[in-house]
Amino acid sequence: MHELAAALVGRREVAEDMWVLSFVAGPIGAEARPGQFVNLGLPAGPLLRRPFSVYRVEGEVVEVVLKAVGVGTRMLLDLLPGQAVSCLGPLGRPFALSAEAGPVALVSGGLGVAPMIMAAREAKRLGLPVTWFHGARSAQHLSREWEGDQVVWATDDGSRGLTGSILNAVPDGLGQVLACGPNPMLKAVAAKWPLAQVALETYMGCGTGVCLGCAVPLVAGGFDRACTEGPIYRAADVDWDRLPGHLSYAE
């Protein structure tokens, strides 16, 4: 874990209103694994840090992808090149990919693309076939960036790719399903693929395991910490009905 001042060095739009921000954060990038996140602090921003999945690492550069949903994300998107944020990470437990567990399906809804580039790269490193299934409201909300062997798109309005939920596009029998998106979508993932690994969202206080603010209700009873035991869960382990759905991925 590191905490450092990370300067913004780049910004690109990958879907309508969806931006990738590039920060210089070498030591964090060097350690980051797919599914882990960074907690970004804005010098003159809101009190608490904001968690973002590590989207991509290129050399010294660590990238995150986001939309403006509130004060923190708006301020991040207003940063000018050269301005710095405090970057804390990498945090949380990564996806567990196994070279033996067969082909990989990456399933993302909207901003759920966030951890998937890292996951695609790791899967390819392990020599696994990778298909990315990506859904969004309509064509312009689909991210232009994807990795792996192939991508399958679906839109709610049918303006590009298949029509309807991306979940319907995922065939049965894939070895390893990794999913990220609004909590209600992940609940549906859990119903279809109980063993899928899902990247969850909760409110976070510290991001480092000390506040117990990021409680994830477990089927086994009790709660654990999205920032420490999570944010990656086996879909069947989460008690979805007790997990609030009103977070930012939900539009």
Binding site: P46, G205, V210, L212, A215, F223, R242
Partner: protein
């Protein structure tokens, strides 16, 4: 000569005046980035007799310069804390107080009894901002009599140094401070969180599953400082200042108000190194003032 910041207060030898506040530092086994040489001491997450799962999410909500939490005292219970953490604490060079909670006087006393004599447990911080189930859910800390009753029971159950942590949600904090002093508290921790609420306009319901929670962070500092100062003026035992401390300047306000040490909570979430930064800032301030101990700092008159 560089300033010496160690301080003996409320029966405990602190390595320095800047402690980690309860519920913001776990059991001391996390926060890897913090230089622990700066840590004067720590207070554990609140502990109860039996394990508690805590409140359902959402448990926290951010507010202007603050946050509200309703964690619901999630903890593995006092026996597990004694078994799993106290042995680690015994090896550390800073003292660990256990934050003790209960729903009845007996429960508080039983937790204290079990902690008595456990190596690694330097003292008890009694959290009286808990609903008294035998008195219709009114908080123990809400009136002098019930605050004194629970303090006295714990005092009898344990020989450990006993700090009592006061709630700010009262009309007359001085009366509560005097009441707990009179039955043997060794120090006062002032203050806990202010009760607060936030409503989600999408759902039309409170954001916290628990509906209300405790407001902490810089937002409360001026009010916490005032209350800590009222406690200082009311009692002869030491007062530990708590509430919104993020910088050395913030800590110094409490020290100038007569507090013997301070605890830092929410600031650690924002910056895991906050405690070390505050500690360094205090050293710089003392050097600048040309004094070598905290005791030499002037106090407001």
């Amino acid at each position: 000569m560089s300033p010496a910041l160690s301080v003996v207060t409320g029966g405990i030898s602190l390595k320095g005046p800047v402690m980690a506040a309860s519920g913001t530092f776990g059991y001391g086994t996390e926060v890897p980035l913090l230089d622990r040489a700066a840590l004067g001491g720590m207070v554990s997450k609140g502990v109860t007799l039996r394990p508690r799962q805590g409140a359902p999410p959402s448990r926290i909500v951010e507010t202007p310069s603050g946050m509200i939490n309703a964690i619901g005292l999630q903890n593995p219970g006092v026996d597990a804390v004694i078994a799993d953490y106290a042995p680690k604490w015994a090896a550390w060079d800073f003292p660990v107080l256990v934050n003790v909670n209960g729903e009845t006087v007996d429960e508080y006393a039983e937790v204290a009894r079990r902690l008595d004599g456990v190596p690694g447990v330097a003292g008890i911080e009694l959290n009286i901002s808990c609903p008294n189930v035998e008195a219709g859910g009114m908080w123990f800390g809400n009136d002098p009599a019930s605050a004194a009753a629970v303090t006295q029971a714990v005092r009898r159950a344990s020989k450990l140094p006993l700090w009592v942590k006061l709630t700010p949600n009262v009309t007359d904090i001085a009366a509560i401070a005097r009441a707990v002093e009179s039955v043997g508290a060794d120090a006062i921790s002032a203050v806990n969180t202010f009760t607060g609420m936030s409503i989600d306009l999408h759902t039309g319901q409170p954001r916290l599953a628990n509906r209300s929670g405790g407001l902490s962070g810089p937002a409360i500092r001026p009010a916490a400082l005032y209350l800590a100062y009222q406690a200082v003026r009311a009692v002869a035992i030491p007062v530990i200042g708590i509430g919104g401390i993020s910088t050395a300047e913030d800590a110094l306000e409490f020290l100038y108000a007569g507090c013997s040490a301070v605890q830092v909570g929410t600031a650690t979430f924002v910056n895991p190194r906050a405690i070390a930064n505050i500690h360094q800032g205090l050293i710089a301030h003392l050097s600048h003032k040309g004094v070598v101990t905290l005791a030499e700092l002037s106090r407001i008159t």
